[in-house]
Symmetry: C2
DNA sequence: GTCTATATCGGGATAGAC
DNA sequence: GTCTATCCCGATATAGAC
């Protein structure tokens, strides 16, 4: 996690991560111990902890690497023709599809994800770079659509779409329906609903309702 | 957990639970071991496990006791005069006020709370009785108000209000602002927004929007 | 039925030698 | 950078006292 200057160190770190993922997939996150991982990687347990400060950090490292690899896939999803609704859905689908083989592994991140103070939480300071990268994609999605968004809502919109995405991912990770069909349906209906709300938000008589919602958002964000 | 026929046994069980909560509060949930708890309660470790089969079980007992003790407080909050909005807010405030001394304890439980399969999660099968008790209070709140709710929305409303409550509690548990003022503001604005939306939902031209929202809810709930 | 005392296990994580 | 040895944890098991 910290020092990877030498090629040897990088190789060791990589080997540990691969061994861990392999175990997580074939057995499960919980039933895989750090001793197992270290053994499979051919290092001592202490060495595993030298590179990854916790078992969950291994999953986070995977998530991080995945985020990088996903960039071109997201770009491709956004490049496709289609309405705002279609492209919003496809952006999120691209992520789900990419993570598909490791859905069970991601489930392990749930535990740390909920506490905003936890370093591995998607809401934490430590994961801000990943979040910002994500936000820029939603930014881009909005910019490259023909949607007209009320000025006061505009700055909040990328964050709101990001929250929608997080909700879908949460549902997906915990979704036990075959092939996660439930999540697919929610994504479809959700993208439709979000788009519908955005269209409505342009109508003149919705101003006071929108301001009310924005005030609530500001309060949740803790802006005085 | 099993046999508490004799008063002595009940007293011991109670003593262990109190010692545990005391430790959770003064130190923290994670840093308190079963050995600590047993010691503080003046019993052997085995005795603690005799009454509570796991550390988790202690938390369940805490949930259950809290739920029981809160019943009259919630009743009192609902009995007060006021609009739907006021009484919704006061119902939730009653819970926050009750949990105040154990806010930190609840925070430690966030981790398990997020996974619906975890026994301690508010969404789990194990906590269903507590959840159902909660739902009945929201039911009562709706019944005893002058609100007219569209027929299709009506069956979903208690659950929606419960979700709103859970959102507020989540915010409160993670709220670092002095005296959790942020949460209080969100609760105020949120209750207002919820009530406003309910009033609007009666207007004729909101039907298609409402049905869209209800479809989304059904999908999230996994109803085919 | 209600405990005490103790030993044991595998888990995550760490300290300090090398 | 890496390893060995160790710590503490939750949990289980057991044998026996009252």
């Amino acid at each position: 996690m910290f020092k990877r200057e030498t090629p040897k160190a990088a190789a060791t770190a990589h080997r540990i991560l691969e061994a861990a993922l392999d175990r997580f997939r074939s057995h499960s996150f919980d039933s895989t111990s750090m001793r197992d991982i270290a053994k499979a990687a051919g290092v001592a347990t202490g060495a595993a902890y030298y590179y990854y400060e916790s078992k969950e950090a291994l999953v986070m490292a995977f998530y991080q690497a995945a985020s990088n690899e996903m960039q071109p896939l997201i770009q491709a999803a956004l490049n496709q023709q289609g309405s705002f609704e279609d492209r919003l859905r496809r952006l999120i689908e691209a992520k789900l599809n990419y993570f598909e083989p490791n859905r069970g592994v991601l489930r392990a991140l749930l535990r740390s994800g909920i506490d905003p103070k936890h370093p591995l939480s998607p809401f934490s300071d430590e994961t801000k770079p990943i979040r910002d990268t994500d936000l820029r994609w939603f930014e881009k999605l909005i910019e490259t659509s023909d949607l007209t968004v009320p000025a006061d809502l505009r700055p909040e919109l990328p964050g709101l779409l990001w929250m929608f995405q997080m909700g879908v991912i949460y549902l997906w990770v915990t979704d036990e329906s075959p092939g996660q069909r439930r999540t697919r349906l929610v994504l479809e209906l959700g993208a439709k609903a979000v788009t519908g709300l955005l269209r409505i938000s342009n109508l003149p008589f919705t101003g006071s309702l929108r301001r009310q919602a924005l005030d609530l958002i500001q309060a949740v964000k803790g802006v005085e």
